[in-house]
């Protein structure tokens, strides 16, 4: 047996080792991908979900090329074990993601499995599926008591600031009047000067 360092060091290698070997890995990923295309949202272990994500997006890329493309058809035929999903892939999923280049899938992490193995789980879904969203959308309502109080506080603060500004300008006018010691007419007072006073 050749004991090379190549076998021990895996710098820059892509593709995790899943299952019993390369064939088993591809078969497993094929099954998961078929399930994903059928149900559009599935729950698996994190590693498998991560691997399938790549293949799911690439398969969509091939599906977008069209039904008539021979290579796309061969790919779909290989990757989807249940053959009634091939028309769904080309006619539903490819159409849904027509204008998007990437980011057609979403992966969300889930608490560990309840079994003895406590495996790290994840949910993998195609975007635009009919189920309720995985991450609830946070909507900020203005009609809460807290938000109303905060709004009022903000308005009052703004009012205080504008009052202070008027007071300041009044004081500068007064100071100017005293220093010059002569009657000041309104139009000679340049509003620009009130900055220079302070």
């Amino acid at each position: 047996m050749r004991l090379t360092l190549q076998a021990l060091i895996s710098h820059g290698r892509v593709g995790r080792r899943i299952g019993l070997g390369p064939e088993s890995r591809i078969n497993m990923l094929r099954n998961i991908l078929t399930g994903l295309v059928r149900h559009e949202r599935i729950e698996t272990t994190r590693a498998r979900a991560d691997e399938v994500r790549f293949y799911a997006e690439k398969l969509l890329g091939y599906a977008k090329k069209g039904d008539t493309n021979e290579k796309s058809m061969k790919m779909a035929d290989f990757w989807l074990t249940e053959k009634d999903l091939i028309p769904k892939l080309f006619k539903v999923l490819a159409v849904r993601f027509e204008n998007q280049t990437g980011g057609c899938t979403r992966m969300a992490r889930i608490p560990n499995r309840e079994n003895l193995d406590r495996a790290a789980m994840a949910v993998l879904e195609y975007k635009g599926n009919p189920f309720p969203p995985l991450f609830p959308m946070k909507r900020v309502s203005e009609l809460n008591l807290l938000n109303q109080l905060l709004k009022a506080y903000g308005e009052e603060k703004a009012r205080m600031v504008s009052e202070k500004k008027d007071l300041r300008s009044l004081i500068t006018v007064f100071v100017h009047f005293i220093s010059c010691n002569k009657p000041v007419c309104a139009h000679s007072l340049r509003w620009k000067n009130h900055d220079k006073a302070f």
Partner: protein, 284 residues
């Protein structure tokens, strides 16, 4: 003393004659100009004569074969593309000095390299290219030949400063990209005469493919060439292996390989882009 004086005067007379004739004798123009310059600034600057530009008007550009050397295409890596563009600049600069012709695995080349241990400083080797590997400035190719009954393989670096000349004696392709199996083939398939003359090849149209199927020595071989991993079409398996052995080798076939999207690397758009860049810069 008198003799020295007379010789000196003779030299001066000769110079004067030269200087008088300099307007008619244009060959001495450059020397006189240089001598003029010595008085003004430092040592004379050597301006090389303009290189002759050969414009082949017989062929239209569209009909010329589009060939991009495989070492220009960057591998799929997590490196900054700036590194590849800088390397490409250096490669193009080297190509402006040394002409690296188009060749494939299976073409017969003659390489002249500088060698300090040889009398005339140059070392010429002829062989068949069995493999082209490496990307960027470290691109290499291996030439194989059988010299005095001994098989010799030399791995040359395309962009090494020791390279003086690379000539293609015969441009052709074989059925495979990698001809390492010639090590286990009969020696007649790897022997090439050192006095071989270059064979004319066309610059338009497709490269001729040699459909030769090589006869092998008896097993064991250095590698199990019958396995589908190597995907060799250029060996005559019928003469050396039984159908049972061929079937046994098919056990290592990975039928999922062509469908594995992870292993795909689509370089078509990259190639076009790089080809245009290289052509532009080489013309400058």
């Amino acid at each position: 003393m008198a003799a020295a004086c007379t010789s000196r005067t003779r030299q001066m007379m000769g110079l004067l004659r030269i200087l008088r004739n300099f307007s008619q004798n244009e060959r001495l123009l450059s020397t006189s100009v240089l001598r003029h310059n010595v008085a003004s600034d430092g040592p004379p600057k050597f301006t090389p004569p303009s290189k002759p530009v050969i414009i082949d008007k017989t062929q239209k550009e569209a009909s010329l074969r589009r060939f991009l050397s495989p070492e220009f295409i960057p591998p799929r890596q997590r490196t900054n593309p700036v590194k590849f563009s800088i390397e490409r600049k250096d490669m193009i600069q080297r190509r402006k000095v040394l002409n690296i012709p188009e060749f494939y695995a299976g073409s017969i080349l003659a390489v002249t390299m500088t060698d300090p241990h040889v009398n005339g400083n140059m070392n010429r080797f002829i062989g068949i290219c069995i493999q082209r590997s490496g990307k960027g400035l470290g691109a290499t190719f291996i030439l194989r030949n059988v010299v005095d009954g001994q098989g010799v393989e030399i791995c040359y670096e395309l962009y090494s400063p020791r390279m003086r000349k690379i000539e293609v004696l015969k441009l052709e392709k074989r059925l495979d990209d990698n001809l390492m199996y010639l090590r286990d083939a009969l020696p007649e398939y790897s022997t090439f005469n050192f006095d071989m003359q270059p064979v004319h090849y066309e610059i338009t149209g497709d490269v001729p493919v040699n459909l030769l199927k090589v006869k092998m020595r008896p097993k064991p071989w250095s590698k199990r060439w019958e396995r589908p991993k190597f995907n060799i079409k250029g060996i005559h398996f019928d003469l050396c292996l039984t159908p049972e052995m061929m079937e046994h080798a098919q056990k290592w076939a990975e039928p999922w390989r062509p469908y594995d999207m992870l292993k795909e690397y689509d370089t078509s758009s990259l190639e076009e882009h790089i080809f245009k860049e290289v052509q532009e810069n080489l013309r400058k």
